[in-house]
């Protein structure tokens, strides 16, 4: 088998497996918007741990950061610090955000801003900023 066949087969198997798991999960319980956005607010510790690991090991971690380290060197050391410190901060603020979101039934950042400040346009502005920031992040 040629290398391209192997890689394409791997990709298709992973996509098919993920789609199958998604459909099976949808069959067994009633799905609504809350399930889709925040997983019914019921992720356990193991799943959260794996999701956070997936959050750290992005394309940037594997390709961008290593390429940057190769070409520029020293400045990349900051990545080790900021990822660690980001989770230190998260330890203090994320449980409270989770609690606020659960009590008010919020699902997105825009929900939080519209509820907290009572302004629809601010919420829309936050939404636009979120989408615009997401594009360079996921490109």
């Amino acid at each position: 088998m040629s290398p391209s066949t192997v890689s394409l087969t791997t990709i298709f198997v992973i996509v098919a497996l993920g789609a199958a798991i998604g459909f099976l999960a949808g069959v067994r319980r009633k799905m609504d918007l809350e399930q889709w956005t925040v997983g019914g607010r019921g992720f356990g510790s193991v799943l959260m741990y794996l999701l956070m690991a997936g959050e750290v090991y992005t394309t940037f971690a594997f390709l961008g950061a290593s390429g940057w380290a190769y070409s520029r060197g020293g400045p990349t050391l900051y990545i080790l610090a900021y990822l660690t410190l980001a989770y230190v901060v998260s330890f203090f603020i994320l449980p409270q955000i989770w609690e606020v979101g659960r009590r008010h039934g919020m699902q997105t950042v825009s929900d939080f801003f519209s509820r907290r400040y009572g302004n629809k346009y601010l919420a829309g502005f936050v939404c636009v900023i979120g989408i615009a920031s997401f594009i360079p992040c996921s490109r």
Partner: protein, 76 residues
């Protein structure tokens, strides 16, 4: 909404990684004692990834001990 504020002890434990990795760069930013083949500053940062985990574990113990009677800390 009233949310519970973290205790001072937990916040101080969370401040330790910040002091070690962020506010004291000039103290450890050198190559000289190579440890396991790493320059000293890289070894320092990698070591503090582990040590930060210990700090956060201690902070978690502090928080759990503080609201032991309520048991509603975090998304369990």
């Amino acid at each position: 909404v009233r949310v519970k504020k973290p205790s001072v002890g937990a916040l101080l434990l969370g401040l330790i990684p910040f002091i070690a990795m962020c506010f004291s760069v000039s103290l450890w930013d050198r190559i000289d004692p190579m440890i396991f083949g790493f320059p000293f500053n890289l070894f320092w940062l990698i070591a503090w990834i582990v040590l930060s985990t210990l700090c956060m574990w201690a902070a978690y113990r502090v928080e759990v001990a503080r609201d032991d009677d309520k048991q509603d800390f975090g998304p369990q």
